[in-house]
């Protein structure tokens, strides 16, 4: 491939992070992490949720300050206190969401804050000329006096890079730069990055797309749970091994583990409850087919950013599908909103419990009744007595540890909050339940209970889509497993095929294989 050109020199590295620690209340986001960036290399930062990638970038770019350790830039110790200071030092960042001013012209966006002056006033002619030249260096020719927002995200990204480079950056940090680009645009971006690398720039690259990371990077640094797992040359690290390091599995142990099987396949007598054909949305998911039967748990496996949550959002009508169709009980339906999905007796426990599901100041009872009330419509109010009965029932059935139903839910532990959210959906008797990371951040006991609950619900005939980054859970609990990679469905495993090594193989496979 293309990673042959790693420049090896004896000189000091461009950027050396030594033992950096960052502590947030309750978490060690970075724990003694080392990271080395050499001149003329593209270095990918890899890791799953909570690995510490974004914290490391924030510390490097001055958005957060470190609590310990040292950062050497060109051999000198630095401690940037703001993005502005990091930029002055020569560390420029291009963020996932383009951070420019949409209404102002392209040229102005490149020179904002550093305008060339003439006779005490801004020299617009110079700005436009120099902006055109800076963009030409990136092989972009455009009308620089037009407002930025009249261009596509890919072009805006190029403008952001032009701005970053024009500050005479020595280190360029690209945080998920490709998430809104199509294949051609990614190709163009990579050509530009390779040229900048040849000019001696150090580039830090963060992406969830394994193919892209392998296509452009010379080296990887893998982080997990705030700790350094290792630094590797891209050419010498097989994909499977990279995936194993990211999700924290020992490859040998995994191979020996292949005896562990998934749940028994469902009797085929069950009719398909939900069928989607070619469902997709640009920038979210490549069109995919999926069938879920009543009484079946379908697991979704994949790395962070592979499209797990996106799939759930499409199925639940949060994001509108641009292609494909959906059948429920063999009948064609169109879902345009979560409300419509709830009306068809779908339920969705979102990934981020804190911001998307729990209403912290409301009581456990009120949180449980929410979905049922919504599906009935707000005019047909459920009486307080009914609400209390309902809440008491679920508190008992799911073993929610709370002094009583009137406790504000924020006082409960994470696991118990999760159970209350489950109760919310169960109260509306869904036929199909999407569980996005239902076990994240809760203790082992609560995890086991939730897994048991999943098994019980599907034995009662509910169809369940189960999303988890804990692959063992997916293996244990699913009748079928759909593997996603780079926003694509890559394979489907059933019955005996479901084991950890097969899933990891599918995740790590190259797109062209």
């Amino acid at each position: 491939m293309n990673s042959a050109s790693v420049i090896s020199t004896d000189e000091a590295p461009l950027l050396a992070v030594r033992g950096v620690t960052k502590i947030f209340p309750g978490v060690r986001a970075l724990d003694g992490v080392d990271f080395t960036l050499r001149r003329g290399e593209i270095h990918a930062l890899m890791g799953e949720n909570g690995a510490g990638k974004s914290t490391l970038i924030k510390v490097l770019t001055g958005a957060d300050r470190r609590d310990g350790g040292e950062i050497l830039f060109d051999g000198c110790s630095i401690d940037p206190r703001s993005p502005a200071e990091a930029q002055r030092l020569g560390i420029s960042t291009v963020y996932q969401e383009v951070n420019l001013i949409p209404f102002l012209s392209v040229a102005e966006n490149i020179y904002l804050g550093r305008q060339p002056m003439k006779f005490g006033r801004i020299d617009w002619k110079q700005i436009n000329l120099r902006a055109a030249a800076a963009l030409k260096r990136l092989d972009v020719e455009m009308e620089v006096t037009q407002p930025l927002n009249s261009y596509s995200p890919a072009v805006q990204q190029m403008v952001a890079i032009a701005r970053a480079l024009d500050i005479r950056a020595k280190v360029l940090v690209l945080d998920e730069p490709t998430s809104s680009l199509d294949a051609n645009e990614v190709g163009h971006l990579f050509a530009v990055l390779r040229r900048l690398k040849a000019e001696g720039l150090g580039i830090i690259f963060v992406s969830h797309f394994l193919d892209q990371v392998y296509a452009v990077s010379d080296r990887f640094t893998v982080l997990r749970n705030g700790k350094l797992i290792g630094e590797h040359e891209a050419a010498k690290l097989p994909r499977l091994e990279l995936v194993a390091k990211m999700i924290g599995k020992d490859l040998k142990a995994v191979e020996e583990m292949s005896a562990r099987r998934g749940a028994e396949p469902v009797r085929t007598a069950h009719h398909p409850f939900l069928r989607v054909i070619g469902l997709g949305r640009r920038g979210s998911m490549t069109p995919f087919d999926l069938t879920i039967r009543a009484g079946e748990v379908v697991g979704l496996a994949g790395l962070l950013g592979s499209g797990r949550t996106e799939t759930a959002r499409l199925l639940f009508g949060i994001d509108r599908a641009e292609a494909g169709r959906m059948e429920i009980d063999g009948k064609l339906v169109t879902l345009t909103s979560p409300r419509g999905a709830i009306g068809r007796r779908f339920g969705f426990c979102p990934e981020d419990r804190k911001t998307q599901a729990v209403i912290p100041d409301l009581s456990v009872r009120e949180n449980i009744v929410l979905a049922l009330q919504a599906s009935k419509g707000w005019l047909r109010k459920i009486s307080t007595q009914q609400q209390q009965e309902l809440a008491e029932n679920y508190i008992k059935a799911l073993g929610i540890a709370t002094s009583d139903a009137e406790q504000p839910i924020k006082l409960l532990s994470g696991g118990n909050q999760q159970k209350a959210i489950l109760a919310r959906w169960l109260a509306s008797h869904p036929r199909f339940l999407i569980l996005d990371e239902p076990t994240r951040g809760i203790d082992i006991g609560a995890k086991a209970e939730i897994e048991k609950l999943i098994a019980r619900l599907c034995s009662e005939g509910m169809a369940i889509l189960f999303i988890s980054s804990e692959l063992e859970e997916v293996v244990r609990d699913s009748h079928r497993v759909v593997v996603l990679r780079d926003r694509k469905k890559v394979c489907e495993l059933t019955g005996d095929q479901i084991d950890l090594p097969s899933i990891m193989q599918a995740i790590a496979a190259r797109a062209d294989e």
Binding site: Y95, L100, I101, F103, L104, S105, L112, G113, N149, S152
Partner: protein, 328 residues
Amino acid sequence: MKFRLSRTRVPLLATSAVFALFYTGACMRYDGFFSWTVFVNLLHDNAFLGLAAIGMTFVILAGGIDLSVGALVGFTSTFIARLIAHQLHPLPAILIALVIGTGFGAGMGALIRFAALPPFLVTLAGMFFMRGLGFAVSLETIPIKHPFYEAISEFSLRVFPVTALLFLVALIAAVYVAHYTPFGRAVYAIGGNEQSALLMALPVGRAKVRVYALSGFCSALAGVTYTFYTSSGNATAGTMLELDAIAAVVIGGTLLSGGVGYVFGTLIGVLILGVIQTIITFEGTLSSWWTKIAIGLLLLGFILLQRFLQSSAGRGGLGVANPAMARP
């Protein structure tokens, strides 16, 4: 591209068209409306509104709001009148008033910046404070009798009286600041996207303080102009002026959420308000409350226009707001 270029200036074009419509309509209906005197009077009568609206333009462009404008006009006018009544020469009196206005604005800006308080509340408090302070200076109207003042009030350059001159000079200076200084561009950037402006290493905090200081200065200058206009000071002067100023700015095509607009548009906005007022005077039988009704309807029309432009820009691809641009 031609189409896009024209669309970026739709609010300004619409404002200009509305003004042209009202003005020519009035000229055809009323004898003597089409004359220099009427037009210059338009500037003369609305100079203090115009000055306040110029400061307000910057505040709104930066994504903020300043409700203390009218109260500061009232305070400044009584304060100057009182100082002159106490035998101070008008020049230092005016200078002191301008310094107080600027300092007061800067103080509100500092609160908004360092205490991270919402501009609406800080300037609301500023409005009550300044209005009260004006009445503390004097409950009554204080006439200004000073030869220097009479000379200035009667001074005119060709047909333009000193009030109109102050307004026009301030307008040119404001256009320059908005389009040719890094501060002006930072104001647009902050209103466009404050988070991005911070990440682009712009001096966001400093610019915010300066925006409110500028608005304070403009309001004080509006107060000074008021004293030239009436040869007196009055604590009730400029009551509800801040709302007229906001209306003029929005009718002038500036997005209330900030980041898009022109100082020149504000001039047209002020002229539209003035023309409506003049038409009602010419009509003779209409109550002056019709001015308010007309302004209310116009304001609604322009807000709807902005909303429409925003949503049609959203369909264009990015879902970002109105693609109006900021440089002539």
